[in-house]
Amino acid sequence: MQIVLLVAGGLFGLAAVAALYRIIRGPSAIDRIVAADVLNASILCLLGVEMAVNQHTNTLPVLLVLALFAIVGSISAARFLAWKEEG
């Protein structure tokens, strides 16, 4: 089972690195918002898989909070950008 954790962790880690690359390179703020959402999703997935493989439920509330509050940042940023480009 530890091999599964290693493989899945490697895949999630690669996705997170790709999202970080897109956050750094841009080119626009919306790309960064989308990439930050992907980074958040890969962190969430990795926490869940680690929990399933290592047979504990300690990070289940973290999963819930990540799923709940990921939306606030992206919606507020997208909304702010829309207002800015209108004026």
Binding site: M1, V4, L5, V7, A8, G9, G10, L11, F12, L14, A15, A16, V17, A18, A19, Y21, R22, P27, S28, I30, D31, I33, V34, A35, D37, V38, A41, S42, L44, C45, G48, V49, M51, A52, V53, Q55, T57, L60, P61, L63, L64, A67, L68, A70, I71, S74, I75, A78, R79, L81, A82, E85, E86
Partner: protein
């Protein structure tokens, strides 16, 4: 035959397969984020694992701990993800369509532009001329402000 041991083995294999599927999905999103050319296509690549990958992971958690509290929280995680991610993707796409970085040449169909033109004509600008572009801009604002 030891049914309990058999069930445990099946659960372990299911966890392994689901976890690696979720990982492949996340990796596909990452590759899409790096390789695709403009914001709308990157959004398309990025939004999939946020829903499907998280659903698979919630399933692995439930398989590993088939108890009622864990099921309840995993269900909540899945429901919140299904509720919020489409909203976030919609808002990002809305902002991306209006941004100057939109690659119109990459679009095969632009139905929003047709709607904007129809709204322009409906607003009394019947001949379709638009001297400084302010008319279509405010029409976009009207259409999108209704989101």
């Amino acid at each position: 035959m030891d049914w309990f041991a058999l069930a445990q083995t099946v659960a372990e294999w299911a966890i392994a397969i689901l976890a690696i599927l979720a990982g492949i999905m996340s990796l596909a999103a990452g590759v899409g984020l790096i390789r695709f050319k403009d914001t709308l296509t990157r959004l398309h690549a990025g939004a999939k694992p946020q829903v499907l990958g998280v659903l698979l992971v919630a399933l692995t958690v439930v398989i590993a701990h088939p108890t009622l509290p864990v099921m309840a929280i995993a269900f909540l995680v899945a429901v919140f993800q299904l509720l919020t991610q489409p909203i976030g993707a919609h808002m990002a796409a809305r902002a991306a369509y209006r941004s100057p970085n939109l690659r119109k040449d990459l679009l095969l169909a632009d139905e929003l532009a047709d709607d904007v033109q129809a709204a322009d004509e409906h607003a009394g600008n019947a001949d379709g001329t638009d001297k400084d572009g302010s008319g279509s801009r405010s029409a976009i604002a009207r259409l999108l402000g209704r989101f």
